[in-house]
């Protein structure tokens, strides 16, 4: 009966309950939308970081990570064919990608800039779609001196597809070497600082420039990111069994930028959550306090008839819980609908700081977010009712009955 009374009282002052519900729904919707935006951003950033740049796992020669190389590729990998075959035999692995990083000077004859080049397997690089081709065509393994240049570097060097540049760097033996390359195309990654320095070239070209047959690292791309830990463990035991002096790192260690963004977003989300929490607390507490004020004589009557103080407390506590649960469900419905609407609207956002291209605003309606919002809404509204409910249960019957 007390539950029935509590439930009916929620609908008694419809306007007030509706206002409280609106506060809850707006709060829940804000959390769902921001949480969904956060999740899709994390997911997108994680996957693009992995698939376009760092891979799920990176394999190096033992010592690479802890030793300071005196010369380029001092800790490079040699004869990786057997290693690649062994790794690619695992059904969870999509592909392996050998890479070399090198730095040096690039010149067009009139002007020089520093560059950061990556020597890649052209075919695999296209599969990783690490960059967006802006002009010309991609690199090819058939043309070892054909490179693609970061859009902003190309602009700085005033080159277009078909033009020539000279790359200069230190070889593995420590001497200087130069290589004339033809610009096959220009590309953009979206990261301004990278696009101002980046060059991509076929692995063979990079090896020719460095005068080596080694590679720096082997990237392993998996079919599913969730399988990273499992594959890493398998590979580590494989290395031990075969006495391969190799070490391995997973994407999480390499993706520092991803973790920085994640921490910032989580901080903002937490702050937003606290604000919503406070607004809901005040709103629900206000509703319950007003309700108690209006129903003081009713409380006195119930207690006069033998209702225990804890039952009065439970009744108002239940009202808070019901408002919270209803608000949570409604919030999930409205928040999900709003998220879906935003996803359908294909809203284009401007480029974030450090990026050159915009992106679509998307909301990931992850069950964990919806459950969190539901639980948060219920707990908040229930907590908000605790003190007012306690106040109601402590009323003196005589005073309550005499309340006008």
């Amino acid at each position: 009966m007390l539950t029935r009374i509590a439930l009916r009282n929620v609908f008694r002052n419809r306007r007030r309950s509706a206002i409280t519900m609106v506060v809850l729904v707006v709060g829940a919707t804000a959390l769902i939308l921001f949480g969904g935006y956060k999740e899709i951003s994390f997911y997108g950033l994680r996957e693009s970081t992995i698939r376009n740049r760092v891979g799920h796992l990176q394999i190096y020669k033992k010592g690479f990570l802890n030793s300071e190389s005196q010369k380029p590729l001092e800790f490079g990998l040699e004869n990786v064919t057997e290693l690649r075959r062994a790794i690619e035999n695992d059904a969870r692995v999509e592909m392996t990608v050998p890479q070399i990083s090198l730095m040096g000077l690039v010149t067009n004859g009139e002007k020089s800039e520093t560059f950061l080049a990556t020597g890649v397997d052209a075919d695999k690089d296209q599969k990783m779609s690490a960059q967006r081709l802006v002009a010309g065509e991609s690199i090819s393994d058939k043309e070892t001196d054909g490179v693609i240049v970061g859009e902003l570097l190309a602009r700085s060097m005033n080159v277009k597809p078909g033009d020539f540049l000279t790359l200069m760097t230190t070889t593995v033996s420590g001497s200087l070497n130069g290589l004339d390359v033809r610009v096959r195309g220009t590309f953009a990654t979206g990261m301004k600082e990278f696009d101002e320095r980046a060059i991509k070239m076929p692995l063979a070209g990079a090896q020719q420039l460095l005068q080596t047959q080694k590679i720096e690292r082997l990237l392993v791309l998996l079919k599913k990111t969730d399988e990273t830990d499992g594959v890493k463990t398998t590979l580590e035991s494989q290395f031990v069994q075969n006495h391969w002096d190799l070490e391995i790192r997973d994407w999480s260690v390499l993706a520092t930028y991803y973790h920085q963004v994640r921490n910032i977003f989580n901080g903002i989300f937490g702050f937003l959550g606290i604000i919503v929490f406070l607004i809901v607390i005040v709103s629900v507490a206000n509703t319950i306090i007003l309700s108690i004020f209006e129903r003081t004589r009713e409380i006195g009557t119930l207690m006069a008839m033998g209702t225990r103080r804890r039952q009065i407390w439970a009744m108002f506590f239940l009202e808070g819980l019901m408002i919270g649960v209803a608000g949570g469900f409604l919030g999930i419905a409205v928040g999900s609908a709003a998220g879906e609407l935003i996803n359908q609207a294909h809203i284009q956002l401007p480029p974030p700081p450090g990026y050159t291209t915009g992106y679509n605003l998307r909301i990931m309606l992850k069950p964990s977010i919806l459950i969190t919002v539901m639980v948060l809404s219920s707990i908040t509204a229930t907590l908000a009712s605790v003190l007012p409910a306690l106040k109601a249960s402590r009323l003196k019957i005589v005073d309550a009955l005499g309340h006008i």
Partner: protein, 240 residues
């Protein structure tokens, strides 16, 4: 000699209003037997409501003892008092005090929740009392759909449904027109005769108090007169 249903001895009750102590009741001693139909009269502020509150175990005296069926209620805990009220005492209020969100049926059923009755027995009892007060057809209606007289009938059914020893009514007819007030008094009187339940009701309306079999008049927190009316004429028993 039979133990009185209610025995008040040297009851005093004072309130603090700001920095001033106000005596609402002063040395009130009173015996009420089971089955009586008593009116408590007096001007506003004479102490009628305070006396009803003390007898109804919803307030405690500043001094003195109150015994209900031989039990000293002044020494009981809040929880024991709640238990006692739910079993022994029914309340009728001037403003009806029905629970607005409950139907007439549910309002009457409410006190039975604390009496440990089964659902079927509870419903049967509620139906009986709604029939008794002539509202079996209004069982599903909420208080705001009922007239003042009907609401007070629901309140009477609610007070009676637990078969209490005592029903306390504070100005039960003050919010009703004279015809309806008369009908409510008739109903209370009829229930008193049929069930033997003791009724103690406060009123400052002489037309109402004259209908009682005993009339206790309060003045400035003291019993000014205590009259027992048999058939006719009035019988004077005690006067202070």
């Amino acid at each position: 000699m039979n133990t009185p249903l209610i025995k008040l001895q040297g009851i005093r009750k004072s309130y603090t209003l700001g920095k001033v102590d106000v005596s609402a009741l002063r040395e009130v001693s009173l015996d009420i037997d089971a089955g009586e139909f008593i009116a408590l009269s007096g001007a506003s502020g004479s102490g009628k409501t305070t006396l009803l509150n003390l007898i109804g175990c919803i307030d405690k005296p500043s001094a003195g003892t109150i015994q209900l069926a031989g039990l000293d209620v002044t020494a009981l805990s809040l929880s024991s008092l709640a238990n006692l009220r739910s079993r022994k005492i029914g309340f009728i209020f001037q403003t009806f005090n029905l629970i607005p969100v409950l139907s007439a049926f549910e309002n009457v059923e409410y006190p039975l929740l604390f009496a440990g009755r089964g659902c079927t027995q509870r419903r049967e009892r509620v139906r009986q009392w709604l029939h008794h007060v002539g509202l079996e057809n209004q069982a599903r209606q909420r208080p705001d759909q009922l007239s003042g007289g009907q609401r007070q009938r629901v309140a009477i059914a609610r007070a009676m449904v637990t078969q209490p020893d005592l029903v306390l009514a504070d100005e039960p007819t003050a919010n009703l027109d004279s015809d309806t007030a008369g009908q409510i008094l008739d109903l209370m009187s009829q229930i008193n005769r049929e069930t033997g339940t003791t009724f103690l009701f406060a009123s400052h309306d002489p037309r109402i108090t004259q209908r009682a079999s005993r009339q206790i008049h309060l003045h400035d927190g003291q019993i000014a007169s205590d009259l027992i009316l048999t058939e006719t004429p009035w019988r004077f028993v005690n006067a202070h």
